[in-house]
């Protein structure tokens, strides 16, 4: 049927407004602070074929994977759905994220025809399991992370399934609060049902469905047009998650082959590391959603989000790997997989559309926990902190410092020191951006946040569930890496580092000591020696870049007044460019080395070259042709390699947009930044 363009816009707005009203209802009626205060929930409207029709300002990490839950629920229960039925689910293995995200799916009928599913996914503060809050860094199986709810009819024909509800709540902490959260989701869906019926009454069901169809189709058309404009081909990128197996560092490989074929895009994660008995794995829906979030954020940030944008994109996530976890491995920590999928997508797209991507973002969800039993007050306390780091620089601008990355939406990441000191036995001594933490570049990466928390209670313990402490955010087009995540204990200037960077479990911190935590910096964009010297001078004046970094990384010489010396700068920049260490690419069948679980890329070089480049065995290095994102590897010193050459496999060359015989730059990546050096700079 035909619909005029004005009515189309009016109906589109009416559906978005319906979702906004669902959100407001959840906020007003939920019991969990995490839901109504931290807004850790999402609402959406879905078509019977599981496509997102409308959403509002919801957290991308929640709402984008929701269609998988709707689809599996429909596959299982669709045939028997009747008016008055409501579905409940949280199972990661069948389209969920992690167990704490509990989804209510509410079929809306017009007569006996199923027309829409309003759905609410909310983070419940507890769903049972081995620790309060259900998320544990020590879980080795999903059963330790809480109760699994496969899609069930929690309400059938208008009657609540009391037995199921009782069974579920009996397995959760603070059950009355959970019941409040469940009822809030029901209330939001009922509001949506009412509004959908009103819209149908006014505009007619046919017109409404036609508007939905057109909205999806035109979003799809926009995305297909974007993809069609890209060159065909298969592009690769690879990145790592960090684990310690028996105390020994082992990076887990995530491998992506991104194919652009006409107006379609295929993201294939074949080759990615197998799942592990730690909460590092995530689900196929989270992985696919992360691909979608990247594509949306790179190609089409303006339009309202619906599923049409994602129709041209296929995601292949092999079962049993860290990107498609299978029973019984834990799935509790989806944030890290999400960020790494986004990173591999950005890395691959940097080879295709370098002007549309940004340097890599802050790598991790950076969960810091400080707490204990304050024996003086008898009070148990836990401080949870998730400071965001720097975002990547991009063609038009520097990357934002200490700001929530694209998968986090509007989440607040800097907590008030005044509030924190009121609630916790802590003193926030410093809370500053860390100088030089943003990756150097023509446009600089955003800076990380560095906070010093002095402990004012005895017997405190510190835990960190993080990533990106060894392999930092990469730059693009010759932009350099940002700082990795850092954390250490400071006792009057004496520093204690942790043996397993980024992964700390219950480390004791005595009264009067300080924990220093630093989020990751964003990757730079473009060659730093091409940054306007006046902007470098301004960065030094503002304290974003140190004088030493201005000199060593940007090649800018400042005079006594802090102004760039044009002549000296030109000379220094020339010298810096000439002194970059380069090797000639030669053919290598495979550049990977097997570990106990995963593979990692290695770069083998001749010992004399290693001495000249001042690189050591097992250093994390970047190979770069400055045409896209660089390629990371671990250094192996090998006398069998001919001096002046760098063996590299075919994928590696594609990633670097280079050929055999080309010169490739080799440089060390800062895998740790000495805390005291940073403190000294920050304190000046």
């Amino acid at each position: 049927m035909a619909i005029d363009p004005i009515t189309l816009e009016v109906l589109t707005q009416a559906l978005i407004s319906t979702v906004r009203e669902m959100r407001a209802t959840v906020c007003r009626t939920a019991s969990s602070v995490a839901i109504y205060d931290a807004k850790d929930f999402s609402c959406g409207l879905f078509a019977p074929d599981s496509q997102v029709v409308a959403q509002s300002e919801d957290i991308g990490s929640h709402v984008v994977p929701l269609p998988w839950s709707v689809r599996t629920a429909m596959e299982k229960l669709g045939a028997t759905l009747q008016p008055g039925d409501v579905i409940l689910a949280n199972d990661p293995y069948t389209g969920g994220t992690h167990l704490n995200d509990v989804t209510v799916i509410y079929p809306v009928f017009q007569g006996d025809k199923l027309i829409f599913f309003p759905a609410v996914r909310a983070h419940w503060a507890d769903v049972g399991g081995m620790v309060p809050g259900s998320m544990s860094g020590k879980a080795t199986e999903i059963y330790q992370e809480g109760i699994r709810i496969p899609p069930i009819k929690i309400i059938e024909g208008g009657r609540v399934n009391e037995a199921a509800q009782e069974l579920l709540l009996a397995n959760m902490r603070v059950p009355e609060e959970r019941l409040g959260d469940l009822n809030a989701s029901f209330a939001a869906c009922r509001v949506a049902e009412k509004r959908i019926h009103e819209i149908c009454a006014r505009y007619g069901i046919d017109q409404l469905l036609e508007a939905v169809r057109l909205d999806l189709d035109r979003a799809e058309a926009r995305m297909r047009a974007c993809i069609s404009a890209l060159p065909d081909g298969t592009f690769f990128y690879e990145d790592y998650l960090e684990t310690f197996m028996g105390g020994k560092f082992e990076p887990l490989l995530m491998q992506l082959a991104l194919t652009i074929d006409g107006d379609r895009m295929i993201a294939d994660f074949t080759g990615t590391a197998p799942q592990v008995p730690f909460p590092v794995n995530s689900t196929a829906s989270v992985s696919a959603a992360s691909v979608f979030i990247t594509v949306k954020s790179v190609f089409d940030p303006q339009a309202p989000l619906n599923q049409g944008s994602f129709r041209p994109i296929e995601v292949i996530a092999p079962p049993g790997t860290i990107v498609n976890v299978q029973r019984p491995a834990p799935a509790g920590s989806h944030g890290e997989i999400r960020k790494r999928v986004i990173a591999t997508m950005v890395g691959a797209l940097s080879q295709v559309v370098p002007d549309r991507v940004a340097g890599d973002t802050c790598r991790t969800s950076f969960h810091n926990l400080l707490g204990g039993l304050d024996t003086r007050t008898g009070r148990e306390w836990v401080h949870y902190e998730w400071s965001a780091g720097g975002n990547g620089g991009f063609a038009e601008n520097d990357g934002p410092s200490a700001m929530a990355p694209i998968d986090w939406g509007d989440l607040v990441t800097v907590q008030s020191s005044e509030v924190l000191e009121l609630r916790m036995p802590l003193l926030v001594e410093t809370s500053r951006l860390a100088t030089d933490s943003g990756g150097a570049g023509r446009n600089r990466g955003g800076l990380s946040m560095q906070r010093t928390l002095r402990v004012l209670a005895p017997d405190t313990r510190y835990s960190l569930l993080s990533d990106g402490a060894i392999v930092p955010a990469f730059g693009v087009l010759g932009g350099l890496a940002g700082f990795p995540v850092g954390s250490w204990i400071d006792r009057e200037g004496e520093v204690e580092n942790f043996d397993t960077p980024g992964k700390v479990a219950g480390h004791p911190v005595e009264l009067g000591a300080a924990v220093v935590i630093r989020s990751a910096g964003g990757g730079g964009y473009g060659d730093p020696t091409e940054r306007d010297p006046a902007r470098v001078a301004e960065d030094v004046r503002e304290g974003y870049v140190s004088n030493a970094a201005a000199h060593q990384l940007y090649g800018v010489v400042l005079d006594k007044a802090g102004e760039p010396d044009a002549e000296a700068t030109a000379a220094l920049r020339k010298r810096l460019k000439e002194s970059r260490f380069k090797l000639v690419a030669v053919d290598d069948a495979s550049s990977f080395e097997a570990g106990s679980v995963s593979r990692r890329r290695i770069a083998r070089i001749n010992p004399a070259d290693a001495i000249e480049a001042r690189l050591n065995e097992d250093d994390v290095i970047e190979m770069d042709a400055r045409k896209a994102a660089p390629l990371r590897a671990w250094l192996r010193i090998d006398p069998k390699v001919v001096r002046g050459t760098l063996p590299i496999d075919a994928h590696g060359l594609i990633i670097l947009k280079s050929r055999l015989g080309d010169e490739l730059e080799l440089r060390a990546v800062l895998t740790s930044v000495h805390p005291r050096a940073v403190l000294a700079t920050a304190a000046e």
Binding site: R28, P301, A358, D410, V414, E421, R432, E542
Partner: protein, 672 residues
């Protein structure tokens, strides 16, 4: 003797004069003079033909503070912060403003990071001193600031809400060395905890203060030259007014000056006309503001923002959207039709203004459909060019295969949906049914769109007040003196005694009394209200709970909180209750202008009839009678379609509505 209210907007300066002896109100509009708003004001006074010396009261709504902040052309300032915390204003709360955009631009702080200077001092959470203020360092910094010619200094120390000694001492040292500069400290502006919001409010205050002081100084000088002897009162965001000298010190209180005045007028007129529960819709050229009043009372909020910066002072809870007369209709990639948020502003303005506007706006759509008559110049100043409107609307319509008329109606429908959306935000989204309220439109465009908006929301009654085009200026004459004071002191109710609560509130009340007394309000003209910001322990937001000042016991405070909590969240929790902040609102009551009562003399439908014009409603062209509001008969319902014209506004009465004039001078529109 006479009272004058002057509201300066982007396009027009609105004046309302109340002649006390004659009991008569007079309104005019004159073009605004953005370079120096005082010029337009003096021109307006000249046009009214009154002697400045006869003015007994002069109340002023101004956008100087807001514009200075939005246009980023404020003072050369520095912020002094606690050692270790220089980035509070640089990173804010670390949240993301642009969703799904890998190229979200970095936050642009109000001032560069290098102008945030760390000072050695530190208080603990209870206000006790951990590290004393390094006065020698402050002296050295002051010396350097004096050499740099700094115009304003904001002092922002952690936990200053609990103890203002360090900030005050620092301010003394700085002021002594920089006597010409504005020196402002956070405990004076807003002694409330959460450092980012408090620092932001304080820094904005310092940022706009020098320009505000210079503007108000000039204005007072010009008025005084013209012979005015009365003092100048400035409208503040909380719906009250303060002496200009006080606003020069705390200009951040005036950020929402104009919109607040409109709400005050609505409350007054609504009660008089017997419609105390209202939703206001103030539609101007660049933005529209909506506000909900229940039984004449408007809500307050501390969640305000100017641009990206939080302003945590207590203000009327007004929701603003960018959809207004100047909103541009355009097609995005993929054929998405949007109306706004881009605006033609006051310059060049809509195409029909004939000042170079080349894109179709909401105002142009109204002109094309005949709803906005071109016979009268807009505001008596701007002659509308219908051909220009038709040309831009036709061009847009051709891209969508729509006739100019269908295109124009489409633009208005989309504008209606977004205005209705704004009203939903403050009603439906908070669990309130807008159909229980009357709609009160004002501003240049409010009454043009009111019936469409009411239809969209199912609202059945519209109240078009007298002087809708000068309504905010009228509110200026109605507003009382008002000062809101706050102090954070966090404690659980179980460890707080009732005398702790009374003492905290009494201390605030004493401060308020000093201000009231300085402004000349005797004890018999004062009123105050107390409230507490409360929450359950562990929550990170508070609810405002009104209490009586001489409450006898803590339990009744807890009960009051539980009642507010239940109303908002549907139930209570088993947890300790915390009091976070103490608040006093203090009013100095002023005399209100009497609204002229309407008598029937010389009024009739025939006398009011101006002409008949073709106007499009729902796709059909109707020969529509146009009436002059000033001559409409009392209580004689006119069925739509009709248009009621007056200076500064037009009211559209669609075919299924009727309109009648009531004795308070309001037009009452009802759906048939």
């Amino acid at each position: 003797m006479a009272w004058l209210g002057v509201d300066v907007g982007g396009t027009f300066t609105d004046l309302v004069l109340f002649d006390q002896e004659a009991g008569r109100l007079e309104v005019i509009k004159t073009p605004s003079t953005p370079k120096n708003q005082a010029d337009g004001i003096l021109t307006g006074i000249g046009k009214l033909g009154i002697a400045a010396s006869s003015l007994q009261r002069f109340a002023h709504g101004t956008t100087v503070a807001t514009n200075t902040a939005l246009e980023r052309n404020g003072s050369k300032m520095v912020v002094l912060v606690t050692r270790g915390h220089k980035d509070v204003l640089v990173v804010g709360r670390g949240n993301r403003m642009a969703m799904y955009n890998i190229k979200a631009p970095p936050l642009q702080p109000l001032i560069p990071r290098s102008r945030c200077i760390e000072i050695d001092e530190r208080l603990r959470v209870d206000g006790s001193v951990l590290r004393p203020l390094d006065e020698a360092q402050v002296e050295a910094v002051a010396e350097q600031l004096a050499n740099d010619g700094v115009e304003a200094v904001a002092i922002c120390f952690l936990h200053a809400y609990a103890n203002r000694d360090h900030e005050r001492r620092c301010a003394e040292i700085i002021s002594r060395r920089l006597p010409q500069s504005t020196v402002t400290y956070s405990a004076e502006v807003l002694p409330e905890y959460r450092e980012y919001e408090r620092f932001s409010t304080t820094a904005l205050n310092a940022y706009v203060a020098p320009r505000m002081r210079s503007y108000l100084g000039t204005l007072r000088g010009r008025l005084s030259e013209a012979g005015m002897t009365s003092s100048l009162a400035i409208m503040t965001s909380n719906g009250g007014s303060l002496p200009a000298t006080r606003v020069e010190e705390l200009p951040v209180l005036s950020m929402l000056s104009g919109p607040a005045a409109g709400v005050i007028a609505a409350s007054h007129i609504g009660r008089a006309a017997g419609f105390p529960s209202l939703i206001t819709c103030d539609m101007g050229g660049t933005s529209s503001d909506v506000c909900l009043l229940r039984d004449g009372d408007y809500g307050m909020t501390t969640e305000g923002r100017v641009g990206a910066f939080p302003v945590k002072i207590r203000q009327i809870d007004i929701h603003s959207i960018a959809t207004a007369g100047g909103s541009i209709a355009s097609l995005g990639t993929g054929g998405f039709l949007s109306v706004g948020p881009r605006s033609a502003g006051s310059f060049p303005g809509p195409a029909c203004y004939g000042r170079g506007g080349t894109e179709a706006t909401v105002t142009d759509a109204n002109v094309v459909l005949g709803r906005l008559g071109i016979e009268r110049p807009l505001g008596g100043q701007i002659v509308l060019d219908r051909a220009a409107s038709l040309a831009v609307v036709t061009r847009l319509g051709e891209q969508l295969n729509l006739s100019p008329q269908a295109m124009a109606e489409g633009i208005l429908r989309i504008a209606t949906v977004s205005l209705a959306g704004a009203i939903k935000e403050i009603s439906v989204m908070r669990g309130i049914d807008p159909r229980d309220f009357a709609l009160l439109p004002f501003g240049g465009g409010g009454a043009l769109h009111a019936a469409d908006v009411a239809d969209e929301l199912g609202m059945k009654t519209i109240l078009v007040p007298p002087f809708p085009g000068n309504f905010s200026a009228l509110g200026l004459l109605i507003a009382d003196f008002r000062r809101d004071l706050v102090r954070t002191r966090v404690s659980t109710t179980s460890t707080t005694t009732i005398s702790d609560v009374r003492d905290a509130l009494q201390a605030l009340l004493q401060d308020a009394d000093v201000e009231l007394s300085n402004a000349g309000y005797g004890p018999d003209r004062r009123r105050s209200a107390a409230s507490l910001d409360m929450r359950y322990a562990g929550q990170s937001f508070e609810l405002s709970v009104a209490i009586v000042l001489d409450t006898a016991e803590m339990r009744s405070i807890e009960e009051a909180f539980e009642k507010v909590y239940t109303a908002r969240y549907g139930g209570t929790m088993q947890a300790e209750i915390e009091i976070v902040s103490y608040r006093i609102a203090a009013w100095g009551l002023s005399e209100k202008p009497t609204l002229p009562s309407i008598d029937d003399e010389g009024r009739s439908r025939e006398a009011a009839a101006v002409r008949v014009s073709p106007i499009v409603f729902g796709g059909d062209t109707h020969d529509t009678p146009i009436f002059n509001r000033d001559l409409l008969p009392l209580g004689d319902p006119i069925s739509g379609p009709a248009v009621i014209e007056e200076a500064g506004s037009s009211t559209i009465v669609p075919p299924d509505w009727n309109v009648s004039l009531d004795s308070t001078g309001c037009l009452i529109m009802r759906r048939n």
